[in-house]
Amino acid sequence: MFLINCPYCGERDQSEFVSGGEAHIARPKQPTELNDDQWAEYLFMRKNIKGIQFERWNHVHGCRKWFNVARDTSNDKIEKIYKMGEQPPKL
């Protein structure tokens, strides 16, 4: 239970948002050249960090826009919110 400061709408309750999971997982540029191990890595393997994790969120009951969040998963504290396409902050 925490608040998220949507970069487009401002601070709202977390229940208005949905988590899109780990951020910065690049879509393969040449999908036909990937072997099974690389596909498994892209599709299924996750860092699942206890600590600061970079993740995507969607303001699904608001502006419906996607953005990135750097959040400490051990206490749900949000360290930084930044827009899609931006590089993850150094924390």
């Binding site: 239970m1 299924f44 960090i49």
Partner: protein
């Protein structure tokens, strides 16, 4: 040799005001070296140690636990036990566990209060009806007891359910597994701990793993808060923290750890004598022997290790509970808590060797691991002892995410994960 628990030992100890019971397990310091070390002293980890000692005669082994045994998800779940899974591999796995549950109290000489009160799964729309009927047929082909109940039969089996067709999600029928039920979660951990300890297994509490030492692709031991422990085999059963341990060995797992909540009400007289689960509205309820309603809610959408969960999840579950059971509308909820569940993309567990020799993982049980505790321990012990999976857990290897041979129980099992 420990004293056997029986009606006679109970009477005998009553005369001394229950002050002379023996300790159920020792509190040893870790030795320098073990043949195998289990990381995680929950039900699954303790069961693994128990079967390693009992069936595979590995006695120089230890269980290391960062807190106290049974203090994680073993003590946080809603204690539901069932085996009515859709796919053959899952049916084999969970029914293996259910068969062990049926004789577990006698085997452990510890009352795990296994109660086969039945588990009923409700259907609320036409697709639910089709899915649940299909699952009933699949269960019966696998030799698992399952029956389809029409709405009036649901009402007869559990009279307090609101079967009015005017509610938002009307009850259109349900399935019933009569062999399913509940057990006392703490007793399962304590019973396995006592049994394992009696065979010489060291159960080391307040001992957190800080690192895994490797030489090339082989494990050499564990760095812990109680010093270095040398071992050739490490079995990790760390539930929500599996990825944290995997990271220490340089491995990545297909897991996401999320809070799953449950809550209990004030205790009342017996009102519901079965377990009722509802997939579409995500609400399940049973009644404990103390009289509390035990209510399970859903998971949060985000990764978190906080063991809390959000209020809106509880709110949604209680809305559904009140629509299905108007009789509970004035009950007060006493406690609410969260456990961190490690969820696989296909909502099936991993009981597997890894690319590192001597490192084994038993994880990914997600929202439904308690029911599998005895079977999981038995099969994981087999995998560790033989360095090969048992045929019942062969499908639950970690390579299925590479081969694509997933065991997709997402929504196909009795409850949405």
């Amino acid at each position: 040799m420990k004293n056997k628990y029986s009606i006679f030992s109970l009477i005998k100890n009553a005369f001394s005001n229950h002050e002379n019971w023996q300790r159920a397990w020792r509190d040893p310091e870790p030795k320098k070296e073990y043949d195998a070390v289990i990381v995680g002293g929950g039900g699954h980890g303790l069961a693994t140690a128990y079967y390693l000692a009992k069936k595979h005669n590995l006695r120089n082994i230890a269980v290391v636990e960062k807190g106290w045994i049974g203090g994680g998800n073993t003590g946080r779940n809603t204690t539901i036990i069932r085996s009515n899974y859709l796919w053959d591999a899952s049916a084999g796995l969970y029914d293996h566990a259910l068969k062990i549950w049926e004789g577990l109290s006698q085997e452990l000489n510890y009352n795990v209060m296994f109660s086969q009160r039945g588990v009923m799964n409700l259907a609320h729309n036409l697709q639910d009806v089709r899915d649940l009927k299909r699952r009933t047929h699949a269960n019966r082909l696998n030799g698992i007891d399952a029956v389809w109940l029409e709405t009036d039969e649901v009402k007869k089996f559990c009279p307090i359910i609101n079967t009015s067709q005017d509610i938002r999600y009307p009850v259109l029928g349900g399935t019933l597994q009569k062999r399913a039920g509940t057990a006392r979660h703490d007793a399962v951990a304590w019973g396995y701990a006592r049994g394992a300890d009696e065979m010489g297994v060291d159960i080391i509490q307040n001992c957190e793993v800080k690192g895994i030492k490797r030489s090339g692709d082989t494990v050499e031991g564990l760095e812990t808060t109680k010093g270095f422990i040398k071992t050739k085999k490490i079995g990790v059963v760390a539930a929500g923290h599996s990825s944290v341990i995997a990271n220490m060995a340089g491995l990545k797992l297909p897991l996401e750890s999320k809070p799953l909540q449950a809550l209990v009400s004030e205790p009342v007289k017996p009102i519901i004598d079965t377990v009722v689960m509802s997939n579409a509205v995500h609400a399940y309820v049973s009644q404990s022997d103390k009289g509390e309603l035990v209510i399970g809610a859903g998971t949060d959408s985000y990764v978190s290790y906080t063991q809390k969960g959000s209020f809106n999840i509880v709110e949604e579950t209680l809305k559904a509970i009140l629509e299905l059971y108007p009789i509970f509308s004035r009950m007060k909820m006493l406690r609410q808590w969260g456990g961190i569940v490690d969820i696989c993309p296909d909502a099936s567990p991993i009981i597997s060797k890894t690319s590192i020799k001597g490192l084994y993982f038993n994880c990914g049980w997600g929202t439904g691991g308690f029911k599998a505790t005895p079977g999981s321990g038995d099969l994981f012990a087999h995998t560790i002892a033989n360095d090969e999976p048992h045929k019942l857990n062969a499908a639950f290897n970690i390579n299925r995410f590479v081969s694509g041979d997933l065991v997709d129980e997402h929504g196909a099992a009795a409850v949405a994960h």
